[in-house]
Amino acid sequence: MNDTIHNSCPVIANHIKIALVGQPNVGKSMLINSISDAHLHVGNFTGVTVEKSEVLFDYKDFHFTVVDLPGTYAFTDYTIEERVTHDYLCAESYDLIINVIDSTNLEKNLQLTTELMSMSKKMVIALNMSDEAEKEGIEIDAHYMSELLGIPCIKVSAQTKFGMEHLLEELVNKAKLDTQEAKLIFSEAVEEEIEKIVDYLTKHKYDAINSYRNIAINLLKNNQKTYTRIQKNPIWTELQPLLIEASKHIELHHNSDDIKESFAEEYASFNRGIVAEVLTIKKEEEKKSLTEKIDNILIHNIFGIPIFLFFMWSLFQLTFELGAIPMEYIDSFFGWFGDTVGGTISNDAIRSLIVDGIISGVGAVVLFVPNIIILFIGIALLETTGYMSRVAFLLDGFFHKFGLHGQSFIPLVTGFGCSIPAYMSARILKNDRDRLLTLFIIGFMSCGARLPVYVLFVGAFFSPEMAGNILFMIYLSGAILGLILAKVLKLTAFKGLDEPFVMEMPKYRLPSFKLIWHTVLTKTLMYLKKAGTFIAGASMLVWFLSNYPKNLLLEEQYATKIEDTQIVKEKHSLQNQLSEQLLEQSYLGTIGKFSEPLFTPLGFDWKMSVALQAGLAAKEVIVSTLGVLYSVGGDVDAENSSLRTAISKHIPFASAVAFIVVIMIYLPCLAASVVFTREAGHIKYFFYLLGFTSIVAYILAFIAYNIALFL
């Protein structure tokens, strides 16, 4: 195969554009990988959250473009993915359809096939997983099937690359043909009505691109587009009563008042006929398949949830334990890189901008890459093995009580690590309203960056024996608050009917390493690119606000003072005083003073207000900001006991409680807000989130402050 596929596009090539369609979990993505042998170009379409990807490759003298469309069960617009596929198939131009079918489940897959057949587009059927079917004792007569359907059916296996050459040959052959008439036969009652309409159209020589049979079927199925076209024609007046009569006849035949349902039944019985003709089962089906055996344990009434919790706990341990190892190296690399670059720049302001602004800001983002890779691998594993739908099944009951969907759990759990991948993983939710509701709640799961702040404050006000429990309480109450607010939002802003929960539980499969690697790589690069460019900008802004306007007079005064003193400790404290005064008259300080009255009811002074606002950029900034403001030096961490002492001395207990409450609830960070806006799909949702979290944070902090005053 490698001899015939060339990586370069010949100057004069025949282009063949192919739409790859199939139900979910039939191995489409793997087939596209096997057929092109290596992905040469994978591009994302903009404007939709669910991506369809394009793969380009050459075979013989032909230049192929394969559009991998999201999996769809039928031609409905039930989910975003189905809408993308349906719109593409109806509105875009392409030469051929490859319909990928799971050979081990022929009858169910044919449901989509028959709907595709009624589109009268050229089509080739790839009977995928034929090796797996053989193992299960299922034999499909592909030759006879091609004859019956009038569509070439080719046995392939994406896993072993069996049949790829044959499939490509058939695609080339089909592309040369002008038309292809699929053989879709209905019940006598429907065929009779189709014939009547076809006769009528023939008699009046109706001008059309599609065959009369096709038009007749579409009219009977209530196809909107066909109606719009034919209604403009004078023959409509006579055709209309004919159609009404025909529909009545068909509905009577099916004992139903829903023509769509009647046609679905027509398709199903046609498919049963095909399956009866072409499929033979050699082996008796095993009493219990492997999937059923695994399911007996994993979705067990009692053990199911504990097993799931154990998996999640393991993923968390891996994310933070394993992820912490490269983090140290990345951190020290950026430290070294900043120092090295800083050493070559003589101008103080430019050096500060590049080292303290850009390098440290971008470094902070890159720092989280190991965690994100591990988390993405875990999520990709959950998705590809089929376990995810089992968890949704187990948890739907509990989540549904709070107005959330069973599948909301993945983003929410991820939120304890970092809100950014959490927002991104909310994509698994098909329904817009469910996804938005989940996006609004994610922030209540306290992310890893808030931990240093909690540790600092809890350490300052509670005994070491109590600290652990208090910390756990903070996390737990955040999560409970999130669930309660989900219920509140569901009853108010996201009011509406409950999204039905009807979901396939796919067979368990061993994931393909190549596919997981590909998914994780694409997602990680996207994270680096988008969040990276943004963070660089945001950290420059924060750097600027906290460093300007400069006050040379003040700096000179302190420079001489520091020069005069001989005691090292004194020098250090003077340095801190200088930092504090400089910060107080910087733009950030001005903002803090200006907003102080707003925070007075919560018991915050201007320093706490500034720290909170700096925390909008990133929660890690809060600790270092407080450190600078309370003059113990910018270089502090949560373990630093002098900052802890300063805080317990300067901040009253009630104010500290209110402060923690605000941190638990308000916006995670700027980078997360950008990702949130992108995932929610509109900037207005960001303002809703900002308003919602700020108001809730303010009210609850006010209540907490006043309660704590009485304690």
């Binding site: 039928a74 039930y78 199911g304 739907d396 009951g397 929960f501 539980m505």
Partner: protein, 76 residues
């Protein structure tokens, strides 16, 4: 007496007689093979019977009790 899928026990095999769902959901159920005359086997109940797992043909499907309530069946 009219029976609903939501009332079935684990391991029971039944035949669908009617779908009472609204258009969208009905189409969804049909695309999953849940239609008149189809045979359904109840495989598992989630805790508190809030969700059930059924088997239609070779496909395993999870349904919420509310959705299962819309599917009329008869025993086989």
């Amino acid at each position: 007496m009219m029976q609903k899928l939501s009332q079935c026990n684990k391991g029971e095999k039944v035949k669908v007689t009617k779908l009472n769902a609204k258009s969208d959901l009905k189409q969804r159920l049909i695309s999953f093979g849940i239609m008149k005359e189809a045979t359904i086997e109840v495989l598992e109940h989630a805790p508190a019977k809030s969700t059930i797992e059924i088997k239609v043909g070779k496909m395993r499907i999870a349904l919420r009790a509310e959705e299962a309530d819309l599917i009329e069946i008869e025993s086989l």
